[in-house]
Amino acid sequence: MNTIFTILLAVFVPVLWGLLSAWAFDRLRSRRECSTQNQDTNQSKKPG
């Protein structure tokens, strides 16, 4: 039982961390890109 728990922990911790970190960094990157695009749009709308 203890061995099964160790195996499950050894597999799920890296897999979940990998998925979570990739998702979080993707979200962060897309938010950064959105804010850059918004800044560009605002600058192009300014008169003159």
Binding site: P14, V15, G18, A22
Partner: protein, 288 residues
Amino acid sequence: MIALGALTIGLGVGILTGIFGVGGGFLITPLLNILLGVPMPIAVGTSAMQILGVSTAGLYRRHNAGQTDYKMAIVLFGGNFVGVRLGAATLKWLGSMGRLSFRGDSVAAVEFVVLCVFLFLLAGITAWLWYDTSRPNTEEDHPTRLLARVRIPPYTDFPGLDEPKLSVVVMSYLGLTLGFLVGLLGIGGGVIMVPTLVYLVGMRTHRAAATSLAMVWLSSLVATITHASVGNTNLLLAIPLLVGGTVGVQIGVSLCTRLGSCALRRYFSFVVLAATLIVAGRLIAIIW
């Protein structure tokens, strides 16, 4: 203190991965053993866990790119599965061999043998990187396709290749060899698999990288399960490695973008050379 060291190693290897695009699994095991004094079997098992996490993140980012040759990955995985189990069994057998004596000092046989294999592997990778970066042009248009020329039945077709008919036996033994290294050393194997698929099989680089990533994920999963079942993993060591590795990859990618070019592979050969010298230094210290 060991956790802080693991975080630093994870961060450093992650930065290298982000800059050079090569997984640094082959650096983690020797660094854990030599710099932190982690017993070799634990270093191998924990390194497999770290590679599982990093390759999961890589697969998540590539899941809709559609470059992976799943048929190739499945054919390779047949031999790979056996190879990983064989490598882990060899590590266990080496662990039961006790200690070797050199001039009065003794060292665990498993540590000595695994470091010797690492020395050859790292020296080979350094030589390959040196050769690869010193050529004027890439050989991708003229790969040798050595494995495609070996005719041992049965064969199967891989539609994405220029020479689509490949021997199942040859591909299975390729998978077995790489799997053995994964099981024995706790490396991902991508640094060997990508050039093998490009130059010896004739696969395009992007396709080879994606297929290799799928293979690295599968073999690190088998390696993690195998090593965890015999108590060769350490979660408290794996977590800082995973955290450092993930953050390091992001720093490395941003550094790479800021530097303007990723044509820094030659510098990577210096990094691998440094790791080779560390392993060689440790072996010399053991023998003398």
